[in-house]
């Protein structure tokens, strides 16, 4: 269970998070929507210790991590896997090395069992035989993003964080990614927090949604509640779907 309590964060004079408070239950697919530049990605980066909040508390299960040191973040990062907006694969290493970045201590034999399963989850099991001699640039952008997802899945984190997984993808790949998010969360019982501004897929995939504006949560609820919401910003978000 993840809880943000009145978290504030600003970069120089620019206030990004202005008292963000939200609660995400375990095993739930939770979407965070909002215009670009309203602090959605910043929120995720706080959970894995890439950023430290100016004030407020962040709870991951029963650890309060807002003042954690780098070492303490070690096991938090094992629990929360972050999938970045860019694939962020290491181009100079082959696919095997990229995939096993998170599980380097695992013995080779066990890796050979876990990797095909993770590739299966992202629908790329057919490249398993070639992972030793292929390099990330040989994959398409969509495939690279799915491989990055598989890489984050391998250390088997309890919580999965997605930073705008569908930006830069065309509609077919975007739909595919959303199905993956749903299936992974349901089959492997993982809490998933997805930052996105793709309203159509969000409503189809999420258990609960939050709409963020100017660093604060202004609307929260299940897809049906959001559809019927009175909040002005949410209504303008939904305008496309009404036609």
């Amino acid at each position: 269970m993840i809880r943000f309590k009145d978290v504030k964060k600003s970069f120089g004079t620019k206030e990004v998070l202005r008292g963000m408070s939200v609660e995400i239950k375990t095993g739930e697919v939770f979407f965070v929507l909002g215009c670009s530049g309203t602090g959605k990605s910043v929120m995720l980066k706080h959970l894995v210790g890439l950023l430290e909040p100016d004030s407020g508390e962040i709870w991951v299960d029963d650890d309060e991590i807002s003042r954690f040191t780098e070492a303490q973040f070690e096991n938090i990062r094992k629990k929360c896997g972050l999938v970045f907006q860019l694939p962020a694969l290491v181009d100079s290493r082959n696919l095997y090395e990229n995939l096993t970045l998170g599980i380097r201590q695992m013995p080779f034999a066990q890796q050979q069992i876990v990797i095909p399963k993770a590739l299966q989850d992202v629908g790329m099991e057919k490249i398993f035989p070639e992972i030793f001699d292929r390099y990330p640039p040989s994959l398409s952008y969509g495939e690279q993003k799915r491989l990055a997802l598989a890489r984050t899945l391998l250390p088997d984190p309890e919580i999965l964080l997605y930073d705008e997984p569908t930006t830069g993808l065309d509609n077919k790949n975007a739909l595919l990614i959303h199905d993956l998010i749903k299936s992974i969360s349901k089959h492997r019982n993982k809490t998933s927090i997805v930052v996105s501004h793709d309203m159509r897929n969000a409503l189809a995939t999420a258990d609960r949604l939050a709409v963020v504006d100017a660093g604060r949560v202004i609307d929260l609820g299940t897809p049906d509640e959001i559809m019927a919401s009175k909040v002005e910003l949410t209504r303008s978000f939904l305008e496309d779907l009404r036609e």
């Binding site: 670009s36 952008y141 830069g168 065309d170 501004h197 309203m199 303008s236 978000f237 305008e239 036609e243």
Partner: protein, 211 residues
């Protein structure tokens, strides 16, 4: 990469869709005179775009065309106002400087950027940069307009504002416009003539009036 022949008539908006990577932008850039196609002819009205032997484009025709790039291609060393005046000065040197300034201010107001007169492009948000790019393309009053994925990378609200702005700007400006996008919601708003580009060919996807 692909051979395409198309025959578009009169003022109106044509939308070009297709999966990313299939070459929509390349086709648009060939039409817009940015890149020279390996073979084949590009005829606008009765004039050819690429003159035989000469490396660059037919200047008369180029003067009647406007291109709005996907990453906006704003001149980063010039203020917003200068970004509008500079192209206008190149195309219509005979116009008096004072008149040009008023026209530029008028266009800034028209796209809702009246207050950004002396700001530099990198100081604007994504949506505002796109508005400036639209203003810079349309201030030259071209007869042929090309938009490369104008709503890419914008969140739904801003992209809808840009789409509405584009429609209103094109309404009172009769020109043949080609818009490349892979955003279903916007495509229907812009035009009923939607073309689908698959690898190898271009075909009309739907031409009934938008529902």
């Amino acid at each position: 990469m692909f051979n395409v022949d198309l025959d578009w008539k009169g003022p109106g908006i044509k939308v070009l869709m297709g999966e990313s990577g299939v070459g929509k932008s390349t086709l648009l850039k060939s039409l817009g005179g940015v890149w020279k196609p390996q073979s084949g002819k590009l005829i606008f009205g009765e004039e050819r775009l690429w003159l035989r032997g000469r490396f660059n484009q037919n200047p008369k025709l180029l003067a009647r065309m406007g291109f709005c790039f996907q990453n906006n291609a704003l001149f980063n060393s010039m203020t917003c106002l200068e970004n509008l005046c500079f192209p206008h000065r190149q195309r219509f040197a005979e116009v008096a400087e004072g008149k040009r300034l008023n026209l530029a201010m008028e266009w800034l107001e028209k796209v809702g950027l009246g207050h950004t007169r002396d700001l530099l492009p990198h100081e604007l948000s994504g949506g505002m940069q796109k508005r400036l790019s639209l203003a810079r393309t349309l201030i030259l009053q071209p007869d042929y307009l090309f938009f490369d994925d104008p709503t890419a990378g914008l969140d739904p609200i801003t992209s809808r504002q840009i789409a509405k702005l584009l429609i209103s700007l094109l309404d009172n400006h009769p020109a043949l416009s080609v818009i490349v996008t892979n955003d279903q919601d916007r495509a229907k708003e812009w035009s009923h003539e939607i073309y689908e580009l698959e690898n190898g060919g271009l075909h009309l996807k739907s031409s009934e009036a938008n529902s």
